[in-house]
Chain length 275, copies 2
């Protein structure tokens, strides 16, 4: 049963020619506002001609453009009157595949942040913003992208940020550059990697401050860590979700950015001018 236009589009987008598909995608991207504007504006936004928009609308089963718009408006009106139904994409009747996943992920985030105090985040952010030392980041098999992501952002606002990539022997040797004033950010969730544990231990012995992103069962690295962030990772799936940790990482990036606002802004301007 198809109850709204968005679903209708999703249902038929597969049978559409390229240009009409572009129209469909443009509409979905800012649903449903573009559809309330004129054909000319719609076509310009989608980068196609007006007849294509009209053909697209006709393919959806409408007699003409105004009828299509009325339908969108009715839908909007219904939606506005009962905000409760705003959980659009109705709880997919039957074998709902998406919702449980998303729900679990959102729960994970709420739960993760519930166990995370503002103070803790502020402390870590202050540590990362403290520019007397260097910042190293590293992750495990599936979490290394998180380390990269964080490194990419931190590197924009401050110098001396290094992502440790490549083979174990490569980054193991970087230990020699690390000291008391430096920070090592490690991402490690189940199954915890021995190589990372060993690396963390060595770094710890050299006095490096370790910030650990892990799951709720805590990687053994927690022993050596100055700060531990335990994220929820459980989702209805065979593997673990890193989404909560990702959001914590973004939150930290935001906090650090704010602390370094002054110099950060200057830095960003400089970078722009280097392009």
């Amino acid at each position: 049963m198809i109850s709204n236009i968005a679903e209708l589009i999703a249902d038929r987008i597969g049978t559409m020619p390229a240009s009409e598909r572009r129209a469909a995608q443009t509409l979905i991207a800012s649903y449903p506002m573009i559809g309330l504007k004129t054909v000319a504006e719609f076509s310009a936004a989608a980068g196609v001609s007006s007849p294509t928009i009209l053909r697209f609308v006709a393919r959806l089963g409408f007699q003409n453009y105004p009828e299509f718009q009325s339908s969108l408006q009715d839908e909007l009106a219904a939606q506005l009157q009962s905000p409760a139904t705003r959980t659009l994409n109705p709880p997919s009747p039957g074998g709902g595949t998406v919702s449980p996943m998303l729900e679990a992920t959102l729960d994970n985030m709420r739960e993760t942040f519930r166990h995370l105090s503002d103070k803790q985040l502020a402390d870590i952010a202050a540590r990362l913003a403290d520019r007397r030392g260097k910042t190293f980041l590293i992750g495990g098999r599936f979490t290394d992208p998180l380390a990269r992501y964080m490194a990419a952002h931190l590197a924009v606002i401050q110098p001396d940020v290094f992502h440790l990539a490549g083979q174990e022997s490569m980054w193991r040797d970087r230990l020699i550059d690390m000291g008391k004033r430096d920070v090592l950010v490690i991402f490690d969730i189940r199954r915890y990697q021995d190589s990372l544990v060993r690396f963390a231990e060595k770094a710890h012995q050299r006095g490096v401050q370790i910030v650990l992103f892990t799951d709720q069962w805590l990687s053994p690295i927690a022993r050596f860590a100055r700060h531990v962030i335990a994220g929820r990772t459980a989702v209805p799936s065979a593997w673990d979700s890193s989404a909560a940790l990702f959001v914590v990482a973004e939150t930290l990036i935001g906090a650090v950015t704010r602390q370094l606002e002054a110099e950060g802004a200057k830095r960003i301007r400089e970078m722009e001018s280097l392009r």
Copy 2:
């Protein structure tokens, strides 16, 4: 400070003549839908003549009727995009000071999935699970980690998954391996990277099916993409958040895993035994 048209009307309704007041009340009664319809419909609903509607609109300070409508639409769009401003989000139970960052991120996810149907995700998952071709993944400056993350997971459950890393010249040459049966997953959010656009175009010309992860403003690559996922990226910060896209990526990984359950399980067992 008057921020929306409803307030504006409430402010001036006292100074209006009878008929215009009727227009105002009619609009408020089913705000803002009537205002999006034609002057004729509006006037009929209010039981006044069309010139009265136009005078009413003029009195609110608009030059003409279309301008008034655009203003209403903008307002509506803003409202739809930040559900937080609607009082339906229980202000974080427990009264803890949750960072606005987290709130924005959660909103982004809800909003992103609101524009994303199960069908769409299922289609993309089916495409990715279809093992007649290869899967390539690539991302931009800040989104490449997402490509890596997805690649790492997909590679566990199926062969022929390649993350395109390193210098542009490196992955550009990989084009020669790509054909009609292959899928290219691209992550590209503002500021869109020229190199990626060029790459996507070339791949498209070779018949490669492109799955694009982008922001709500749509990377130019959308032109060439078979499937477009538009995630919300706005957070109270200087940069854009990729969290919503991350979650979509995880959801897709989950869907693909489920589709390949049978062979996937076998594959994972094999891998385990290789350790």
